[in-house]
Symmetry: C2
Subunit: 177 residues, 2 copies
DNA sequence: ACCCTCATGTAACTTGTTACATGATTGA
DNA sequence: TCAATCATGTAACAAGTTACATGAGGGT
């Protein structure tokens, strides 16, 4: 499906940047729904360049250090625009190792199961609180321009998702205690 | 991380079955948190047999057709028991192509965005209703034995997850209309 | 001097998907 | 006899991770 391709095209469509910059983007906002390491990004950039969807110019930082600043081409923009409108079937439910363990919970003692749930709850709480703080930076009732919509909405979805996960864990906990 | 390995060990720990049976399990309850095709399962079964974690005996169906009925070994049971108790760091937020499209929504017209959201809402609703029906088969307030806990809890988590997704889509919708 | 960040890549491997390939059994 | 399901596998490819590998820039 070449999803990484479109994640990169979408980012470069905002403004030109280097592979390193892209890599950092995947560690910021994009973590709420995608991720990629630099070892996957650099080869993909090469491929997209070969396909004439992006191009780069070399900039010099300091005296020697070269960096490639990539930008999207018209061909790339057209490809992206077309991809954005595709209405696919639902993807399968995402994989979740913790749930796999819960599914086989009959092989644990009640104490062990209880401990697993508490541990997961603690970790999810931290994540939820972090997301909630980010979200509150937008203020109580955000009035969104189209440019903020994307950023805000994916953060909101991540927060609601973690909230639902915590609620589920609370129910699990109540069945075990 | 060999997660497929433990999914298979967990299933075989319940009772012996064939690769074909395992494949069907991944299409049933396990879809709520894992999936695998037969082309991945058969090689893994071979590997697990080589590692002495499972074993098989050949049964004949009808006159000719051979099937391999796999069962877990003591070594496999020990490996599974140890794995179940591992408390890992949270996995990264699962990937979601629809959210990637929403993130780049600034490149769509309001009408296009609206259509995308409605389409996704319709598909998610169907899934949610299906899950809810499955869940209601357990009755209003289920009294769970340890053997049902796994089955019920993963279904509950999938339902709550879809519910949260729908709530998010409703908010998205309200920003667009 | 030292450390952190910036910056770019490759190699080996694991995981997962799609397509190819075959044939038996069961019930309508 | 025909179709759906049962049953098992492989090959080629795509996607993703971990480790290897190198070196400059900037601040203390």
């Amino acid at each position: 499906m070449r999803t990484l391709k479109y994640a990169i095209l979408g980012l470069l469509n905002r403004h030109p940047m280097t592979g390193y910059d892209l890599s950092k983007e995947f560690d910021k906002d994009l973590t709420y729904f995608w991720h990629a390491k630099h070892s996957q990004i650099y080869p993909e950039l090469k491929k997209l360049t070969d396909e004439n969807l992006i191009q780069f110019e070399v900039q010099i930082t300091g005296e020697i250090l070269e960096k490639k600043v990539y930008s999207i081409t018209d061909l790339g923009k057209a490809d992206l625009a077309q991809w954005l409108l595709i209405e696919e079937d639902l993807e399968p439910t995402p994989k979740d190792v913790f749930k796999l363990r819960m599914y086989f919970a009959e092989n644990m003692s009640k104490e062990q199961l209880h401990h697993m749930i508490e541990d997961q709850y603690a970790k999810r709480s931290l994540k939820y609180n972090f997301l909630k703080e980010r979200l509150e930076e937008y203020g109580e009732s955000p009035t969104l321009g189209m440019s903020d919509f994307g950023d805000y909405t994916v953060l909101l979805s991540a927060t609601m998702r973690e909230n639902a996960y915590l609620e589920w864990l609370e129910i699990c906990r109540s069945y075990v205690s």
